[in-house]
């Protein structure tokens, strides 16, 4: 979505909504509910279509923009289930997704000064520093570090407590693989958080500054640990900056799957364990990467994968990145619902491939159980 877009730009596309809740549930014949809002409170309002109708009502002056509208706009978990299942909105100009329309609504809220408390902290900081997050210093061991290497690790800033541990495990794995790599450290945030939160005025300078540093490296292979950063850099940079070309991006799970295949990573038998894999929304629905993490798990001796009822394209969100307060407890309830589904599998360990998911699940688990949630990199590091 262009940063200059307005609500009027999506009016015609939004008018195509059939009000049929198709955006809320997954593949036939299971028809499992995937939209966290709809799962929480099944109504038209709490669906992708509800957001579209709210936009239409705002444009038609049936409701005023206010703090409550803003809280609602920021209550979508952004899981992309709507865009995976409804093809009506995206088939016509401006060829955007329903989630893009939600982000547009958020940008409008920010422009009008209606900023939820959970977003205010980010907004104030970006206003003050021009960035969000800290430039990461991902220390690669000397034996693999090579600034001329064809593979570049995209070092994400740490918005999440888990990122540090995920990054550390990834570095250890890169050392085990033994191929030369270099590091790209953002100035701070790649911009995905600002984009999602509707801080669009502040976004373009940030993206432009990052791209200026990435552009000389764009022929190289960028490896991402965060699906959010990967989706944003690969897909959105070219949308936001007309002169930016898509970078060649891979997720760390793809790198690991390749390393197993080439024999550069070898599994050691660390005992039998049943694991269930949670498809992160942006890695799965966002980037279409479903097989690589499963291939990695299949490469680990003694690891048995037990799928949750909702998996792959029909995965259910972890509830992270829900800063709005319109539905109290939505983020936590969503994480708990997913954990119940995990428990139903009888698996010992819940594996994910996104630091946000790891945090979200751990946050609602009893302290004694938190070690039952791991990032894929951590599990592979432990068992190779």
């Amino acid at each position: 979505m262009r940063l200059a877009a307005t609500l009027q730009d999506v009016q015609a596309a939004a008018s195509r909504c059939l009000r049929d809740a198709r955006c809320t549930y997954g593949s036939w014949p299971e028809n499992r509910v995937l939209c966290p809002l709809y799962a929480h409170d099944p109504s038209f309002t709490f669906s992708g279509g509800g957001y579209l109708f709210l936009i239409l009502a705002l444009l038609d002056n049936k409701i005023d923009f206010n703090q409550s509208t803003a809280e609602f706009a920021f209550s979508c978990t952004g899981c992309l289930a709507c865009d995976s299942n409804c093809h009506l909105f995206s088939a016509h100009a401006p060829y955007a997704g329903i989630l893009d329309a939600v982000r547009l609504l958020r940008a409008e809220a920010v422009r009008k000064g209606f900023i939820p408390e959970g977003v205010r902290k980010v907004y104030d900081r970006v206003k003050k520093t021009g960035d969000y997050g800290h430039a990461s210093a991902l220390a690669l061991p000397e034996k693999i570090r090579d600034d001329a290497a064809a593979t570049v690790i995209f070092a994400e800033c740490a918005h999440t407590p888990s990122q540090k541990e995920v990054s550390a495990a990834a570095v250890r794995l890169l050392e085990k693989i033994g191929r030369p790599v270099s590091v790209f450290s953002e100035r701070g945030c790649c911009g995905s958080t600002l984009y999602d939160l509707g801080l669009w005025e502040e976004l373009e300078p940030l993206v432009r500054a990052n791209w200026a540093r990435m552009e000389p490296m764009r022929e190289k292979m960028f490896v991402f640990m965060s699906p959010h950063c990967q989706e944003f850099v690969v897909r959105r940079y070219p949308e936001i900056l007309p002169d930016a070309a898509p970078v060649n991006g891979r997720h760390i799970s793809q790198l690991l799957a390749g390393a197993f295949k080439e024999g550069r990573l070898k599994s050691r038998n660390a005992g039998k364990i049943k694991v269930s894999y949670h498809d992160p929304c942006y890695l799965g629905r966002g980037l279409g990467i479903y097989d690589a993490p499963r291939d990695v798990l299949a490469g680990l001796e003694g690891v048995e994968l037990v799928e949750m009822a909702r998996n792959r394209e029909d995965s259910f969100c972890c509830g992270a990145r829900t800063p709005g307060g319109y539905i109290p407890g939505l983020a936590e309830d969503t994480a708990r619902e997913r954990l119940r589904e995990f428990e139903a599998t009888g698996a010992d360990l819940l594996v994910t491939a996104c630091a946000y998911c790891r945090d979200s699940f751990r946050k609602v688990m009893p302290v004694k159980d938190r070690a039952r949630v791991k990032d894929l990199t951590e599990l592979v590091d432990e068992r190779t």
């Binding site: 059939l18 549930y25 028809n31 049936k62």
Partner: protein, 493 residues
Amino acid sequence: MVIKVVGVEREAACREIREAIGAEKVRDDEITLVTYGRIRHGFDTMWPFRKPCMVVFPESREDVVETLKIANRYVIPVTSVGTSAIMLGTTEGGIILDQRRRDKVLEINTDSGYAVIEPGVSFDKLTAALRGTGYKCAVGTMPGPGTVLGQALSRGSQSFSTRYLNVVVDLEVALPDGTVYSTGSSHFAGVGSHLRYGPYPDLAGLYLCAYGAMGVVTKAAVRIHPANEASRVNLAGFDSYADAVDFIKELVNHNIPEHTFIWNWHMYLTWPLAPEDMASVMPEVLRSDFRKPPEGTPYNIVSTLFSGYPDQVELYEKICERVAKKYHGRVLPEEEVEKRFPATAAGFKQQYGDFHYRESVHWSKGRFVGWYVFGEPKDMKEVEKFAAGEFAKFGKEINPVNYYSHPFDYGRSILLRIAGFPEPTDIELRRKIAKKFDEMYDVALKRYRAVPIRPIGSDRAGTYMKVLARIKKALDPNNILNRDAGLFEEGEL
């Protein structure tokens, strides 16, 4: 009857409803109310925006009954809806009864051939529940998420109509005073829903095409049909609608189709489009004159579903070939359809193979404006020419001009549904089209004896509407049910 409910009374009613059924089933926040202010799809600005005072999400029959009783006492209008409502208007300050949470398939009876469902059950849900039972449902002309009963009660055209007739066998209905009754055989204690009516009159008929104005359906038995050993969809191409009508009429007279449908070329090309096909197929269609298909592209394709024993199906295929030739058409081999019209082939495969209606991108060309009439077969040949001529006058800006046509009740009546897709935000053009449609309905009625699918004004239905209004007054004396559904103009009896 003019309803006047003051704010204090409305607040009291809302409070009582909350207490009666549970606050978690009631929403009255501003965002919910405005997103239910126009329940027709597409926030159609042609329809009046009327903000309800609350939206109720019943989870049981008792929730429905309690809500109705309180609303009736305070004389607050109630609009009962499922998902993907087509023709329902809302009422300012009324209550929306959104039945989507009542979505259980309660019983599948493969001995008699019916399924008992709650009002919120969608086609997707029912078709999924029927998998492996040896039965299939009469998939309607709605996307999968649309509710089965929503279509039945608001007279969707019901695509499997040839042999299957109406989908409803038995309805459980709640009236505003709290009375709950069944229209069919289940009214007798311990009896199932195998019989729609008898020994008494067919009361289920009172609710079909009534848009919820005669009572709130709380449960229904709908027809399901055996998925036979062999099943086949035959596609035959014709260069004129008249030939296509003669073809289906002859097949129907010989008891061959379970279902048969005539599609015009704009529709069979664009209706089943997947998003990835939009760029390749749609642009050419948008530039074309729907009355003049490109060389070699049939003006109409007739899809005919038949099933039975394998040798029976084989014989039917041969008969189709012979009858198609008789009426100047030809059966299109499967390979040819897959090669020339791959999206069409995929769409038919999904609809007839899985009995699951694909959510088609065709809808997203815009909110369609549709004109629908029923007529006798020979009249319909003229109606098609008339309607096509009138649609052509709107120009290519409403392309694709999609129509389908199919026989009801073994061909006694034939439906033609023709629709265009003006830009959803072009209100002026949409108004112009709506006005034109009214004139066209008049012409169709007077010149071609064709009746509209939707209410077009009580002045044209005469005594029928007067009798209906008397029945309505008996069932709903305070006129609270689906007042603005369009059955009685602007809710006035």
